[in-house]
């Protein structure tokens, strides 16, 4: 969790350091602009829309988890409530006088309003107490969605039509691609604002309170208010994400509020890495892609996600971003090349072994749950009889051999790692 230490430019040439820091933002903007020209299919645009909304939500979530050390188990409600309000604006008579691209501002304000109400009592403590309150409040609001039908629409949720808004420079947002650019625009704005927030006095103090609340209090800052302001800011960007969700899908239901959605965003953020600003971005992109691919391939997708999550917490608490940043010293020393061959020799067998384990899991699942007589299953483009002995032998053999090779090559990789991170004296 040490991005703060590395990203601080040295003093003096403020403008110079600023233009350097702008580079990743320009690359991101260009990518956002040209991606839909490379992937033109409607399905690709749908996935990207979902991805960018998740990025905003995950970044907003990490304002709490990574920057402020607050673990929320009910954060979906701030996004959801922002989205529900926007849906009501869309269904409102005066919607025809509001340009659609402005809707996220309203979403943000509503998300922020809810965060002010809840934060007023939930931010008094960090840690476990905060986590439990966030869970309770999240459950409360999610449960309200079936009771307060006027607002939440009950079981069906509520839907609207984004095209009724005031046309914005002639664009009515009928097409998916128009919505894409609207979302991309808000992604850039929100990400930049959230990044800048982390560089403001309150953003810096959020880090300080996360690391050592007592010390921060003796520096003149009330830990509680620092947490409160972070919470409110996070609520705003969650609301923005909710508004974009409402615009993109034109429907919101109880699912947008419940604990499962809150759990997913925790998973996404943690997987990406809470210690770096770009971690949640990475997490959202990888998670959305993997989810899209895997959920089409297997019913057990959530099972794998659970394993991946637990394994990440246990072995890579820094997430993907943490794993990537581990390599910075080696790259600085110019020795990253040393790692390439050992990585290939270790990680490819490991990947094969993991795929083998997954195949085994799928076969057990098929064996147990497929209807009687349905013995045929297809895995990795191979169709076979799940009740025959041969496939089991093959899969187990693959697993054993793959992990065996991995184990044999592991010392080579650790040696290469030590060597790559070892600076020559003098």
């Amino acid at each position: 969790m040490s991005d703060q230490t590395t990203s601080q430019p040295r003093t003096g040439s403020l403008t110079g350091s600023l233009s350097f820091a702008l580079a990743p933002w320009i690359v991101a903007a260009v990518l956002l602009l040209f991606l839909p020209m490379i992937f033109q299919a409607n399905s690709a645009i749908t996935i990207m829309n979902q991805m960018w909304i998740t990025v905003i939500f995950a970044l907003a979530y990490n304002m709490l988890l990574g920057q402020g050390g607050m673990l929320s188990f009910g954060h979906a409600v701030y996004m959801g409530v922002g989205g529900f309000f926007c849906m009501h604006i869309m269904n409102w008579d005066s919607f025809e006088r509001i340009p659609l691209p402005l809707l996220p501002v309203f979403g943000g304000l509503f998300g922020m309003g809810l965060a002010i109400l809840v934060g007023a009592f939930s931010t008094r403590k960090a840690g476990t107490v905060f986590a439990m309150i966030s869970l309770g409040v999240g459950e409360l609001i999610a449960a309200c969605s079936v009771i307060i039908v006027v607002f939440f629409g009950g079981e069906e949720g509520i839907s609207g039509d984004r095209t009724y808004g005031l046309p914005f420079m002639g664009v009515e947002f009928l097409k998916q691609i128009e919505v894409y650019y609207l979302i991309a625009f808000w992604l850039m704005i929100s990400a930049a604002l959230m990044y800048l927030f982390s560089r403001t006095p309150i953003g810096r103090m959020a880090n300080a309170v996360r690391d050592n609340p007592e010390r921060a209090e003796f520096l003149g800052y009330s830990a509680r208010w620092v947490r409160f302001y972070s919470f409110v800011a996070s609520g705003f960007f969650c609301g923005v994400a909710g508004a974009l969700f409402a615009i993109n899908y034109e429907i919101l239901t109880e699912e947008n509020l419940n604990t499962a959605s809150s759990g997913v965003i925790l998973l996404v953020t943690f997987l990406g890495g809470v210690g770096f600003f770009f971690g949640p971005i990475l997490g959202a992109i990888v998670f959305t892609l993997v989810q899209t691919v895997l959920s089409l391939q297997t019913e057990l997708w959530a099972f794998y996600a659970g394993i991946l999550f637990v394994a990440t917490v246990m072995f890579f608490p820094g997430g993907l971003a943490g794993v990537l940043m581990m390599h910075v010293p080696a790259i600085r020393l110019g020795k990253a090349k040393l790692l390439l061959v050992p990585y290939i020799k270790t990680l490819i067998p490991a990947a094969i072994g993991i795929l083998g384990l997954a195949a085994l899991v799928e076969m057990i699942f098929h064996y147990r749950h497929a209807s009687t007589g349905d013995n045929e299953m297809t895995l990795f483009w191979t169709t076979f009889d799940s009740h025959a002995v041969m496939p089991w032998i093959v899969v187990i053999a693959v697993i054993v051999i793959a992990f065996g090779v991995m184990r044999r090559n592991l010392p080579e990789m650790t040696d290469a790692w030590d060597e790559a991170n070892h600076a020559e004296e003098g």
């Binding site: 601080q8 003093t11 927030f197």
Partner: protein, 259 residues
């Protein structure tokens, strides 16, 4: 920082302070007045109640009886951040820094409030020249300029203690309280930190708690000796050293330990 400095109101005034934990009375009626600009050391053998007194003054513990006032203002019931804003800053006996943030950022966090940034989200910290220069000046004072961009957690123990002092003085408070700043240090390190304290507290009121009497002799203007929750002597270092009660209660034991 404070208009009262130099007037006859004491910087810190302790009036008949008591503190009990359960049935045990740890602090048994302390009266102490520390003038603005004075360097005052509270010394005493282990278990005398020094840290308790320290935590009472900074309102980390609530007093059972009596009161503490800063520039004439009663501190009872105040939150740490409120006390800090009145111009009192403290260090901790156990190193208490922000280990994951850089050395520079540690100091800068100490500066933020006093430079009026408060809870602002419309300023970028890196764009404030005053903030950067202020933090760098303090880094220079505590000789950590070379360590500027390292995470504070990787510094050596003595460096972390120096950083802790740096954070404590950064806010510009006029009353500085240090809790055993040289605990667990070698002789060279101790001399180094004592010099540092002398340098950074010029013109300020210093209250420090210390176990080792030798440390404070060259530093303090006034010394109070705390034994079993009571102050048995207060005065200039030479007077305190010559005081037979102190010899008996404290120095005797300490000398025996040393030889």
């Amino acid at each position: 920082m404070n208009a009262m400095t130099g007037s006859h109101v004491p910087a810190l005034h302790i009036d008949n302070l008591h503190k009990s934990f359960g049935k045990t009375e740890i602090i048994r009626g302390i009266n102490l007045s520390i003038a603005p600009g004075e360097r005052h050391a509270v010394i005493g053998p282990n278990g005398a109640g020094k840290s308790t007194l320290f935590n009472l003054i900074t309102a980390r513990f609530a007093a059972s009886k009596g009161k503490v006032s800063l520039h004439g203002q009663d501190l009872a019931g105040m939150a740490p951040y409120e006390i800090n804003r009145l111009g009192l800053s403290r260090s901790f006996q156990i190193t208490n820094i922000f280990p994951k943030m850089s050395v520079f950022e540690n100091i800068r966090c100490g500066l933020l409030w006093s430079m009026g940034y408060k809870y602002s989200f419309w300023n970028l910290v890196s764009r404030s020249r005053a903030l950067t220069e202020g933090a760098e000046a303090i880094l220079e004072q505590i000789n950590l300029t070379a360590r500027r961009d390292l995470p504070a957690g990787v510094l050596s123990y003595a460096e972390q203690r120096a950083l802790e002092i740096g954070i404590t003085i950064a806010g510009g408070a006029d009353v500085i309280m240090l809790d055993e700043p040289t605990a667990g240090m070698s002789n060279t390190e101790t001399d180094y930190i004592v010099d540092l304290i002398r340098k950074v507290t010029v013109g300020k009121t210093l209250v420090m708690v210390e176990h080792d009497m030798g440390v404070v002799f060259g530093l303090a203007d006034q010394i109070s000796v705390l034994v079993y929750g009571e102050i048995i002597a207060t005065g200039a270092p030479e007077d305190v050293r010559g005081n037979p009660k102190v010899q008996e209660a404290y120095l005797g034991a300490a000398l025996e330990e040393e030889h």
